[in-house]
Amino acid sequence: MFIDLHCHTRATKKGDGAARNVTPEKFSEAIQARQVSIVGITNHNLFDRAQYNQLVNEVGSYAQLWPGVELDVHDSGNDEGPTARWHMIVISNPDRIDAFSEALTSILGNSLPNDFFGEVSDVLSAFLAEGQDVLFISHCRKKSPYISDTEINRLEAMVPEGERWRLFLEEKDLRTIGIWSYEGKHMVFGSDVKDWNNYASKDSKGIWTTKLPELRLKVDGFSQLAKLAQRDGRIVKTLLGDRGPNSFLVHPHKNVDVQIQLYDEVNVIFGGKGTGKTEILNSLEPTLVNQGKRVSVYHGSAKAQQFDELLLTDGIGRRAEDLGRESCSEEISELAAWADVQPTPIVGYIDWKRTEGNSGSKARFRITRGSNLPTGTPDEYQFHLHAAKVITEFIERCNGEDNFLQYLSKEDAQELMHLLTALLEGAKRKAREAYIEYKALLLTNLGLASIKRLADGKSDTKSKPGDTGFLRYATGRVTLGNISKKLYVQSGEKGDETDCKYDFAPLGVIDDKGDMEIVTRWRYLSSKSRTKEFNVGIRDLNEIRAKWKTISENIGASNIGSNVKAVSEKCKGLGVDDLTAFIGVWKYGHIVGTDNNSEYMPSDGEKGMLMLNKVLKTDADAYLLDEPEAGMGNSYIEASIRPMVSKRGKERRMVVVATHNANLAVRTLPYASIYREHISGDKYCTYEGNPFANELIDVEGVRPPISWSARSMEVLEGGAEAFGDRASIYAAGKVEVEDEDN
């Protein structure tokens, strides 16, 4: 739908060429050839009402002609001098032509078109007065004489906030208005026709020589264009920010295909119960997903279920490190492989003694009588090694992100780093010494065993066994005790806050209660634990821990081997191969400001508010909302949902709302309204339209168009009579309230 809001039909100033004069017949012929549907008649400093009427009569129903004028204006309050003069077009609602004509006459006074220069504040006052309904379009940038950037701000300041949607700027072409429009300015441009002979001509490539913008949406009249302008200011299509429409095949019922047009804006599906609105949304979702779009979905009838799904813990990771613990997978493996060290058979001592005299040279080889040296455990060097690691990490934190050194003077910082370095070297030295001692003892015993084996091979003797095996036996039990104790301690609650880790995900606000969030809590098994927190039964986990405790406290027990075997087999059977099985995960609703562990379960209505808020706040390309009004008050819909829906639409996100609610279906001023009508039996009809065109058209082209406003009022408001009654009752109430106030 082409629109020309800057169109001259008369040469009124000295600079205007005679070719601007046009006869009604030529005018009608030209705009029909150029396929223009709306024309603003904007001659310089003149509105020729007689000619306007002739043009209207000639054009008939083909196009809408809106009365207007192009004024020479200046702002005497602007100290920019000559630059504060520009051309401002004023276009009026044709229904208000009398008021417009009257105001213009008073502004122009006795000035001839060639001489007029109006004070902009006077122009604004006259056309913003009661009874007026106009748009102001100022030349800007490349369209000379243009309004300066300073003056744009001054102009906005002169107009009440609620009326600023009436201010537009005119650039020369589509490319530049696209950029300005993207930056939030309300842009338009017109033909500024200079020669009617060329108005509808095409160049050698078949392209129109008169460039004109197309409206984003077809409009029914000035009031509908005003609604579109009020909605987001972007009334014409630009090269940037295309919002569609895009065509989608949807299925309101099984095996029923319907092609509908949807915009990257607010789209509404309405109609009676059972007309397939929900099914349309359901069939739209996979199509959008397959296009690679991120889709955020809300079903009013399943709001409680959607909320409950937020509390599912399936797939949430459990990491011991996150709670400052160790997973101890090696310890569990060691425990499973543990067995008592076997004693050295006493027959080894007997063989040694029996053959002792067989070789004189071996008798002198006294090292073959040596005993193994006690090696102990690697605990000591591991202790020093751990200390060195902790010190290293602290030094890195001092120099890294934490930058602890900032709290000290330069000298003190150097001193601290010197001491920490010395501390680290000390720990490393101790670790080295302990490591050498432990490994040296092991190697000594290995060497001794080798010497004995070689000496035995060269003589008819047996060397003395290296040990009885008791120390190794005792060490094995001590190691077992340590492992079991570690597993017991690391797998359970220690009784302080560090045992828990929390993740807080904001969800929304509940009236009177405050901000709500979803908390994910990780904590080790404790007396407060619930079965659902774990993948393994609590009873089994407690049994395993009890066994570890028993083993660690009874390393001298005769039945220790069977206890170890039993607990290891239980772990294996339950798939417990590290201690993450003992970390419980739980998700719950929580009111911000209360104790971290206090849970809040919202009512069904609150769940709906929260879920809808979450869905609309999700960063997505498309939002599919099925009866968002279900279970919610109109005040909440009006105060919270409608603004969020409109905001997403303005961000060029596709929002498709299936609704029975008039506030959502009408007051969001949707780019597309899809209406589903039940005809009879299993016959349905799908209409498309919007409030701007004020019509709904059968997508199959079978049925005649119907009025968008009439059908919306009938379906969403219960009919014109009901709507009127409510309006009069409310109005009466208002009068009574005002009376009471008086």
Binding site: D340, Q342, P343, P345, I346, V347, Y349, I350, W352, K353, R354, S371, P374, G376, T377, D379, K464, P465, D467, T468, G469, F470, L471, Y473, A474, T475, R477, V478, G481, N482, I555, G556, A557, S558
Partner: protein, 115 residues
């Protein structure tokens, strides 16, 4: 200090054992058969009982007393064995204390002080 008495006994069937005396009244005895391959199983029982005692206190195995004229070879063997065993018992006790596994904490503290 707990003393575990031992003796070397020769039976009428010529089998010979190293006997360990456990229990407050030394009424629980474990024989390690010196002339039988199953002696290792006997030693496991002895080790388990010695460890139980070592967790409580320092333990010393007494020099074996001969009963019924045992074979000289076995007497020499058992004397050497008990010497080795006592050395390992002392090391094990030290380790148990270091690891904090000693069952009498007061005693452990005293021993630590002595060291």
């Amino acid at each position: 200090m707990k003393i575990i008495k031992t003796s070397i006994i020769k039976f009428d069937d010529n089998n010979e054992v190293l006997r360990f005396y456990f229990g407050r009244d030394e009424d629980y005895q474990v024989d390690v058969r010196l002339t039988n391959e199953d002696g290792v199983e006997d030693l496991k029982t002895v080790f388990q009982l010695l460890l139980a005692e070592t967790l409580k206190d320092n333990v010393l195995v007494g020099k074996p007393q001969s009963e019924n004229n045992p074979t000289g070879l076995y007497v020499d063997v058992c004397n050497e064995y008990v010497l080795d065993l006592n050395r390992e018992l002392a090391s094990a006790r030290k380790q148990i204390i270091e690891e904090g596994l000693a069952e009498t904490s007061m005693q452990t503290t005293e021993e630590n002080k002595a060291e």
